[in-house]
């Protein structure tokens, strides 16, 4: 048992537990919290894999940005009656069966796909330098698309979430 295996086991079980907790939490705020732990766990996994830059990005964008937004949204809409809206048990059953079937299939696929890839190559993962160069050369187009996409999102989100003046002013 190498350290990697120990760490992976620990982190992966934490992630798995958190992910399950996201699904099964009745309270949406709790869900958000567990999602936060999942995301942090995933970022730790990236560090474990040696993708430090991706891990740090996951932390700053996902944990520090996206999750703050989500929690923000939760808080803005959190009223007691919405915290615990449920669905019928039958739907739970159907979805659960389907998801577990899918999981079994995916795991089968994973075992096939992962065959022969037991040890990572000796050289470390390319760090932020090669990534930056890659973004400005080989992957310039996706990079630009993402940039424009972000701009559009910025404008769109600002437009959608702006304070609207209601003609009647019947609600605050």
């Amino acid at each position: 048992m190498s350290l990697d295996v120990v760490l992976f086991t620990a982190i992966a079980s934490a992630i798995a537990f958190s992910a399950l907790a996201v699904v099964f939490s009745r309270n949406i705020v709790r869900s958000a919290l567990w999602l936060l732990f999942t995301l942090i766990g995933v970022s730790l996994l990236y560090f474990l894999l040696g993708a430090e830059f991706v891990g740090a990005t996951q932390l700053i964008v996902y944990v520090g940005g996206t999750m703050v937004l989500v929690v923000f949204g939760v808080m803005l809409t959190a009223q007691q009656q919405f915290l615990k809206i449920r669905i019928r048990p039958q739907e739970w059953l159907v979805a659960g069966i389907l998801a577990s079937a899918l999981f079994v299939l995916l795991v089968t696929t994973s075992f096939h796909l992962g065959e022969g890839k037991n040890s990572p190559p000796a050289e470390p993962m390319p760090g932020s330098g090669p990534l930056g160069v890659g973004f400005l050369t080989q992957y310039l187009l996706p990079f630009e698309i993402i940039s424009v996409h972000l701009l559009v999102v910025l404008i769109g989100a600002a437009y959608l979430a702006r304070a609207k003046r209601r003609p009647g002013g019947n609600r605050d």
């Binding site: 048992m1 190498s2 990697d4 295996v5 992976f8 992630i15 798995a16 992910a19 996201v22 699904v23 869900s31 958000a32 999602l35 996994l45 990236y46 894999l49 993708a51 991706v54 990005t57 964008v61 996902y62 940005g65 996206t66 937004l69 989500v70 949204g73 939760v74 803005l76 809409t77 919405f82 449920r86 669905i87 739907e91 739970w92 979805a95 389907l98 998801a99 899918l102 999981f103 995916l106 696929t109 994973s110 992962g114 890839k117 037991n118 040890s119 990572p120 190559p121 993962m125 990534l131 890659g134 996706p142 996409h149 972000l150 999102v153 769109g156 600002a158 959608l160 979430a161 609600r171």
Partner: protein
């Protein structure tokens, strides 16, 4: 198991993916659905990065696309939340089942 291969990562990704789907399928809260989507995206990202680590020719590609997915997810969350807030303003609820004006 002395060596950690690609398979555990892929399995973890599969698990996250299924959790995400389950989350989308079982939540009625719009934000809960959004969380499910985030889980699914993370599942994909785990696979990307794991493949970047274990398949040498994907060393750069995997990370690049993981980064792109992260950034996209941020944008997606922003827009989704804007929509949800709008929905909340108009319907005073975040229960997506109430958003069925267009149903057949």
């Amino acid at each position: 198991m002395t060596e950690l291969g690609l398979t555990p990562y892929l399995c973890l990704g599969a698990f996250l993916f299924c959790c995400g789907l389950l989350c989308i399928a079982t939540k009625r809260n719009a934000i809960g659905i959004l969380m499910g989507v985030e889980l699914v995206l993370n599942a994909a990202n785990v696979n990307f990065v794991a493949c970047a680590r274990y398949v040498p020719q994907f060393a750069l590609e995997g990370q690049v696309f993981a980064l792109l997915v992260i950034v996209l997810a941020a944008g997606e969350a922003a827009v989704a939340l804007a929509i949800i807030l709008n929905f909340y303003n108009n319907h005073s609820t975040v229960d997506v089942d109430k958003a069925d004006e267009l149903k057949g």
